[in-house]
């Protein structure tokens, strides 16, 4: 019996109580190398894993306020679930989440709540989600498996001397009534990653946690830290345009940054105690400053093209970021500014609610749907009943519904994903866009991602790149907002 099968058997054989461990928690205790070695077997039978994950999530729900009020006892089989479970949205959970935030436990599941996730999503309106201990571990498990695939393709990720720049909104947002942290999903991912990467990071944790630094100053400081580190090798940044903006700051303010590196200080407004703390961790580096000054004096600017980036950071070899949908368009814009040999790896598709896929190829936006992360259902865009992971068709787009270990049940993420082949019998999925982003014209519903696909075809045919593509609709019709560049 393989170790993941033993882990599943252990999880499902337990009496469901406070000490019981779920499938992701049992699997997380397997050594990552062993689990990676077993992945081909695991991915040959996503149906078995998915059915057991659903069964377990529903067991974890029993006894919660939500399960009682929605009569979860009737879901005794997958068929019952498929026939009767309602598709839900955030509003269905809001009162339960508010009660749990106020200190009333067991609202959405009976297990322990590890923390709360705050998200602004793409709308800018803040929402909170509960994160159960099992749900938090499921995310860490997906991260761990992603890390194994990435290190197999990019061994530099394991090189402790190759420094990382990880860009994320790291700081906790607040505390709940019972003292649990309220964090951002991307910040929590960065925090979990940091536990494994420790000294690889060129930005000290004290920088991320320092209070009172304005966003613009934070970008400036990230640029100074990065410029000061000759061993800078890897970028981890969901939306790579943010790294592009850091390069812009180096272009515009390179001379000032060289002076900061020379003196071990930052030319931004900082609280006195923060400045003192950060200065201790950022010693003056005359040698690096002299080297950069020489480059600056030659061209009057530190970065005029990819060759300057290769000179400043000779070890820079990989970028991990989102490559799909509109963010992928922005990422490609930044990648064109970097030296040609730099390898690119999809950061992985996920949301505040759960992490969903495992990228397994260089320069590809797709990844294997993680069958142990949550229960997946795929709703056809033209209507019809949701399909399970083992029933989907290659090349087809679906709206994704998830049932998670953190108490979301048949929850509509409002994400459109495309099936892009299979690994074993498990589908590879790529995020296309939000199902809430569409225009209705003459009764026809056209999604933003369909326009984006069309524009990509035009880009290829006409040898140009659009670095901005948006659709605006009013009573006169629809308008495209563009900005293009020839290749």
């Amino acid at each position: 019996m393989l170790q993941y099968e033993e882990a599943m058997a252990r999880a499902l054989g337990q009496q469901r109580n406070k000490e019981a461990r779920t499938i992701p928690e049992e699997m997380f205790s397997i050594h990552p190398k062993q689990l990676y070695a077993e992945m081909p077997e695991l991915l040959m039978d996503c149906e078995c894993m998915q059915k057991q994950v659903l069964q377990e999530i529903l067991l974890c729900a029993q006894g919660s306020a939500y399960a009682r009020e929605h009569d979860f006892r009737r879901f005794t089989s997958l068929e019952e679930w498929r026939d009767h479970a309602a598709v839900t949205t955030y509003e269905d959970y809001r009162p339960y989440i508010e009660r749990e935030l106020a200190g009333e436990p067991r609202q959405l599941y009976t297990g322990e709540t590890a923390l709360f996730i705050a998200t602004t999503g793409s709308t800018g309106n803040i929402k909170y989600f509960l994160e159960s201990k099992a749900g938090n571990t499921a995310k860490q498990l997906v991260m761990s498996v992603r890390g194994m695939y990435m290190s197999e393709l990019l061994p530099v990720t394991l090189d402790m001397d190759a420094k990382n720049l990880t860009i994320s909104n790291y700081a906790p947002v607040d505390n709940s009534a019972d003292g649990k942290l309220v964090v951002r999903a991307s910040g929590q991912t960065a925090r979990n990653m940091r536990k494994k990467t420790g000294t690889m990071n060129l930005l000290p944790v004290e920088f991320w946690e320092a209070p009172g630094i304005a966003a613009r100053d934070r970008d400036y400081m990230m640029a100074v830290y990065t410029l000061a580190e000759v061993r800078f090798s890897k970028v981890f940044c969901n939306n790579l345009i943010h790294f592009g903006r850091i390069l812009d700051r180096i272009v515009a303010e390179g001379q000032q940054m060289i002076e900061d590196i020379r003196h071990g200080d930052f030319s931004v407004e900082l609280l006195p105690e923060v400045r003192e703390q950060l200065r201790r961790l950022f010693p003056a580096n005359t040698q690096r400053a002299d080297g950069l000054q020489e480059l600056y004096d030659k061209k009057g600017c530190l970065i005029t093209g990819p060759e300057d980036i290769a000179t400043i950071w000779p070890a820079l070899s990989m970028v991990s970021c989102w490559l799909s949908a509109s963010v992928g368009r922005d990422a490609r814009e930044v990648l064109r500014r970097l030296p040609a040999g730099i390898k690119c790896f999809e950061m992985g598709y996920g949301a505040s609610e759960c992490k969903l896929n495992i990228p397994n190829e260089l320069a590809s936006a797709s990844g294997i749907a993680a069958p142990f992360a949550c229960f997946f259902e795929f709703r056809p865009l033209d209507g019809g009943a949701p399909l399970c992971m083992w029933e989907v068709t290659d090349g087809v787009c679906y709206e994704l519904l998830v049932t998670t270990y953190s108490g979301l049940y048949r929850y509509n993420l409002q994400d459109i994903v495309r099936i892009q082949g299979f690994t074993g019998n498990t589908p590879n999925i790529v995020f296309c866009g939000k199902s809430s982003e569409f225009v209705q014209i003459d009764g026809e519903k056209i999604y933003g991602h369909q326009f984006a696909d069309l524009i990509r075809q035009i880009e290829k045919k006409r040898s140009c790149n659009f670095d901005l593509m948006q659709i605006y609709k009013n009573t006169e019709g629809f308008f495209m907002c563009w900005r293009a560049k020839t290749r």
Partner: protein, 76 residues
């Protein structure tokens, strides 16, 4: 023929777009706004300055507010 500062033939691009949208969905765009680089820079800067996570700083594909005149380089 209209050309932007980037020497892109937007008229030809619009024609291509219209042919494709008509073929696919039987519709034609009412116009194209060629927006200035500063439009994107501004949109992104606002998003990164607000306290947002990774998803929140991406720009939407479908917008509900028309770009301002000062943000538009050319209308086709």
């Amino acid at each position: 023929m209209l050309e932007s500062k980037d020497a892109v033939d937007y008229t030809a691009l619009k024609q291509e777009l219209d042919e494709q949208t008509e073929r696919l969905w039987g519709i034609i765009s009412s116009g194209i706004y060629v927006v200035k680089q500063s439009y994107k820079d501004y949109q992104f800067t606002v998003r990164t300055r607000e306290d947002r996570g990774a998803c929140g700083i991406k720009l939407p594909l479908v917008i509900s507010e028309e770009p301002l005149d000062s943000e538009i380089e050319m209308r086709i």
